[in-house]
Each structure stands twice: as structure tokens, then as C-alpha cells.
Symmetry: C2
Subunit: 229 residues, 2 copies
DNA sequence: TGATGTGAACCCATTCACAGCC
DNA sequence: GGCTGTGAATGGGTTCACATCA
């Protein structure tokens, strides 16, 4: 554990690294040089022990009695996440959502860039979305191969999500981000992350309902519990 | 309504209920009447014990030796999540993302409907998005009150997300869905769920990077040795 | 002195395995 | 016999508290 740590990072900690990273980037642009786990915790709305434990998975990058050097830690997180390289991405589905994603600046700003958008609908093909020309889904494999794409985004309607996933896997994509509500069946070894808008709203609906029933955990009860993330 | 169990559902289980629900809806439209925990687990890509435990938080709605009645269970989940009522929603931010969300059919299909879209940008105000006319953010409070809105969506750029949250909270909204990458500071009791596209991509980036290094956890064998970066 | 890094304790979530009921 | 419902066991994640070191 001297110079290259590189054990596998626990899922839960991994999910927080991008949050810390974003905060560090902000601090960096404000020319803050050092940050303590206490401060980072405050900004990320978690507790300080968690911050330290999470960062310890990366290696020993802090200075006892002082804190963490912002630029250095930023770089280490980026490197660990693989953000020091550029990731070409392909989007399947050029509807409302696919277009919004292709035009979403947050993607390009972080080393991800859209190299292809495909759709089945002939009327979409040939239009330009997010700077690339929409192609037929049949060309997916050739795009993935010629551009060395590893990550695909599914932005199709639910009923076509599984075939989109199949096509991506066949084309050789290793990770899929799924915006359709479908639970995808993929071969072992393929990573899927699902972002489900309606699911999140339904959870909020539950929170609101229980809050209105007075069942929401309020600090003044014996069921002390907080829900917000 | 007094045959209710109504303990608080654990966060992790709560997050899976919408998934089961969607599957049940699909089964229902295929006229499937009964389903076992085994089948549900298969379709949701989880294990059967988890399905049973999750459903047990709702009450005792299965039949031993038989399974669950699709329509009945569907109704119970909907009721538990509060989906038997209609939830008015307001969107802050009428840019790319806000427009896509306002037009997203998945929202309206599930009892959520957009009753207001607000923005700061004068050029957006007055345009029609998702069937409603965009208003100035100053009108947020009056919209929230007149339409009894509980849930707000933040679809602004990062630098305006916190003020959007403040405005929503001041207006009386109890739950916020945040599409900006910002970690929002909100008063205790306000629920926030964050959907961060770039965050998800960064996690996929990590998976792909470790996969390429051969460090991806593969069930066969234990390769946890040092790989020079 | 002051903040990191980390074993140990704690707590929640998952899984097992079987009693209970149809 | 078959499948649910659930205590008990396990495992992972969080928090505590303190040894450690600049």
C-alpha cells in the first residue's frame, strides 16, 4: 500500500467520489488550496468519517494535521475514475430524451463525448442532434467499432429498450446507461446503470404521502430517522 | 383503510417497489393473473427472498403455495406509494432538460402532471412547454399555492440550482428532484433526490477502466494482484 | 496541536432456511 | 407439494474513537 493502492472500491464509496470531485473542482476554481475532511463533508452533506474512509480507498493522499491538497486530490479521483481519458459514447434513440442528452453540456464537459446517435425511425435519420448526424441502428456495430465505443446510452421507449441493449452488447459495448424504465437482461460482465425518472418521482410520492399522514419521521419522535440524501 | 400495516418501509426496499410495480403492470396487460416471487425476481433481476421480504413490508398479500395476485398486488403497491392520487409538479428551468422533462410521457402516465414551468430568462417566458406556459420564477410561490404542489423539479444550470431549491422550499414544496449536479442545502424535513447524469457516467467510466485492466471482479478466481498503471 | 487513517462496534440490508399455510 | 412469510445468520456500509504522524 505504498504507491499504487488499487484495490476494488466499494460500490457505496464509488458512488460518492464524483460528488467529492465536483466539489473539489469548484474549490479549485475558487483557488482554495487545502480542504479538511470536515469541510468536504459539510459541502457533500455527509459526515467526516465517511469522507475519510472513502478517500482512504484511493490511497493515503491526505496530510495529518492539515487536510487534503485540493488539486492533488482532484487529480487522484479523476485518475481513479478513469476521467483522464476521453470516453466516446453512443446514444440509441433520438427522441425527446436522446436529443436532450446529446445536447447536454454536462456530458461533454467531463471527458465524455457523443460520437454517434442512432434510431430506427427513418424520419429521424439524417437529422443532426448534438453535433452528429443520426444514423440507422443497423450501423451501430460499425460506429462502436470504428470509434472504439465502450459506453452506450439507451434513450428509447420502453418497448424497444431490450433490443437496444441487445444491439449494444452485440456491437461490443461493455457498459450501458439505461434511461428506459425496463429492467434489462444482459450477459454477465456487462455493466448497467439505470436512471428512472418515474421511479424517483414515485419515491418522492411515498415520502410526501407519509409526510402528510404525519408518519414522516420527525426529530421529535422516538423513531428518529432522516430521509434526505 | 384500517387494515393497514403501515410501518415505515426501509429505504432499499422502497427503491425496488416501483420496479415490481412496473413489472406487475406489464403482466397485467398480458392478462397474467398470478405471479410467484420466483418469477417476479427473475423479471426484476433480483433474488426471490428479497422480493418476498420487500413485499412483506406492505402486508401479507400473497397466498402460500400459490403466489401473488397480480392486480391486487399492483393496487397495494400503488396505494402504498401514494400513486392513487394525482401529484401536481412544478419544474424550475425551461432549458433543454426542463423541456424534455415537461414533454416526457413517462411522467404524465403515472399520475404526475406538470402544472407549472418557471424560468428566469425573459426570452423563455411565455413560450409553451409541455402544454403549459412558462412563467417567471417570481410566480413560483403563487403557482405552488394555487395548485397545491408538493413536488418540484430542478432543471436549472448548476450555478442556479441552490437558489431554485431555496425558492421551492420558500414556496412550500416538500420534496425536490434535483437534476443539477449540485449538492443542495435544504432544511431538515425536505426530501431531495438527486439524479446526476455525469455522476452515473463517471461510475461507468470506472467500471470500464477497471474492466480493461482486468481488475473487474469476475466470479472465477481471485486476481487481486498489482497491475501497474 | 490538529486532522488523517483505520480497527472495532454498530446498524442496515441481503440471504438463508424452514415453519406455516394453502 | 409448493410457495409465502419471517426469524436467524451473514455481509456490507457507516460511525465511533483513538493511535498516528506532520
Amino acid at each position: 500500500m505504498s504507491d499504487s493502492p488499487r484495490r476494488r472500491i466499494p460500490e457505496a464509496a464509488l458512488g460518492r467520489l464524483p460528488i467529492y470531485l465536483r466539489i473539489l473542482v469548484d474549490l479549485g476554481t475558487e483557488n482554495v488550496a487545502q480542504v479538511s475532511s470536515e469541510q468536504l463533508a459539510e459541502l457533500a452533506a455527509v459526515n467526516a468519517a465517511k469522507v475519510r474512509k472513502d478517500l482512504s480507498y484511493l490511497g493515503t493522499y491526505g496530510t495529518r494535521g492539515v487536510g487534503y491538497e485540493v488539486q492533488f486530490l482532484m487529480y487522484q479521483i479523476q485518475r481513479e475514475l478513469g476521467l483522464n481519458q476521453s470516453w466516446p459514447i453512443v446514444i440509441v434513440g433520438a427522441g425527446n430524451l436522446g436529443q436532450a442528452l446529446a445536447n447536454f453540456s454536462g456530458i461533454a464537459e467531463r471527458g465524455f463525448h457523443i460520437v454517434g446517435v442512432v434510431d430506427k425511425d427513418e424520419s429521424k435519420i439524417g437529422t443532426v442532434v448534438g453535433g452528429v448526424r443520426v444514423k440507422h441502428v443497423d450501423e451501430l456495430a460499425s460506429i462502436v467499432q470504428s470509434k472504439a465505443v465502450n459506453i452506450g446510452i439507451i434513450a428509447t421507449p420502453a418497448q424497444h429498450a431490450q433490443e437496444a441493449a441487445d444491439a449494444l452488447v452485440r456491437a461490443g459495448v461493455g457498459s450501458i446507461m439505461n434511461f428506459a424504465p425496463t429492467v434489462l437482461a444482459v450477459p454477465r460482465g456487462v455493466n448497467v446503470r439505470k436512471v428512472d425518472l418515474a421511479l424517483e418521482l414515485q419515491i418522492l410520492s411515498y415520502y410526501e404521502q407519509t409526510r402528510n399522514n404525519g408518519l414522516r419521521a420527525v426529530p421529535t419522535g422516538e423513531h428518529s430517522d432522516s430521509v434526505s440524501a
